[in-house]
Amino acid sequence: MTQITIAGQSVDLTDEGYLTDASQWNKEVAVELAKTEGFELGDDHFKVLDFLRDAHAKGETLTIRKVGKSGIVDIKGLYKLFPGGPLKFSSKFAGIPKPTSCV
């Protein structure tokens, strides 16, 4: 675990760069985290991040399928917003833990 300061906010990150405490998140932190992965976040990205944060707060398990059924974006759209790992990247920028597939 490492502690760094981004967007004037001190945050704790896992070795893979996920926030360990979702309450340390704000929009500026999201923008900076996204930049480190080469993403520039717009409104459509933030709609997904808000959905993920809400669902996470309710203790729901997140899957790509669930986001695709949310009415915010379909699965194809989600891949366009976060190419290369839609749930992995969106979870990281939303400040929630890395999605785990529980096999």
Partner: protein
Amino acid sequence: MKDILILGAGTAGTMMANKLRNTLEYDEWRITIVDQYKTHYYQPGFLFIPFGIYNKQDVIKPKSNFIPPGVKLIYSEIDKIEGENNKVYLQEGRVLNYDFLIIATGTQTCPEETPGLKDKLWYKDIFDFYTIEGSIALQKHLKDWKGGKLVMCISELPYKCPVAPIEFVCLAEAYFAKKGMRDKVDITYVTPMPGAFTKPVATKMLSELLTEKNIKVIPDFYLEKIDNDNKKLISYDELEIDFDLLTIVPVNMGSEMIERSGMGDDLNFVPTNKHTLQSDQFENIFVIGDAANIPTSKAGSVAHFASEILFDNLMSAIEGRPLLAKFDGHANCYIETGYGKGALIDFNYDTEPLPGTFPLPGIGPFGLLKNTKINHYGKVIFRWIYWHILLKGKEMPIEADMTMAGKKRVTV
């Protein structure tokens, strides 16, 4: 007279019926179990059918053989559960009341969820091996298949028996080698997961095993549709994979009855407390096996370990005491790797599969995360154990809680 109603007479439901009937007084408790089908399938055996190792008669027995006297078995489809009124509606308009309900309706494959899957190539060049029909059709197809690109694809998570697709490609590799046509078959393993398995230590071991067998792994591939004309898999991010023969794990979903009852998540699995196995919605409803949304493998071994916890908690609920037994997500899976060998993994919610020995620390006889002959015999013997001990709810010499004894803490 009070009623316990069990929905589903598969592995989980049958074990619960036996455990409960052995304990509860006949003059106080009526136990009823409902299932629409009369045949009990030994599902771990489906994997062996495509290669002619098992045939249909090796994996079927009447469900009624395993339901003890004193448990009423009703063959019927289930319309829905009305949790507010403690009622279950069956298909012919029959209504059953319950004091406690156990949902054990499992998971099923839904090929129609993927566009182009149940289309003109279905059971011609595309097969599943999670149904008796699929595995028998695949056996026939493989007998005179001339070779080409064999692709094993997992459509969606979660799915039943997470190691089965790995076992399938290993057994296929050995099958083609034995037929002297391994050089004519190109085997590819396609998964939406980031590697051959989810957890790091097991992924490393299994990836090495697949590499050794010259089986290619394509991770992070999330299947959108099948192009039947060009024989291609297409992902949501528009990657394409060619196939000549596709074996697939279709999307897994819980029973439609769960959806009709308004009790499921987006895949019709029932939101369930992962420790107590009580439904999140109703205090007198418990969920066991694949039907639950708990974050562990959908596998018979999980249902077996969970059955002991559920039994304890149901007894507590009946007596109005708090539910103290806590399920740890324990799973134990034999992995057939071909050439008469096998591997074994043992894990739970918190501990990933680790190397070691099982069940006796330091002795075994089984080796965890090791590819050995004795592990293969474990799997062979397991079919007998399943029919004669496990389903009947008898004691097994393995604890419900996973133990660290015999395991070595390692990281990749």
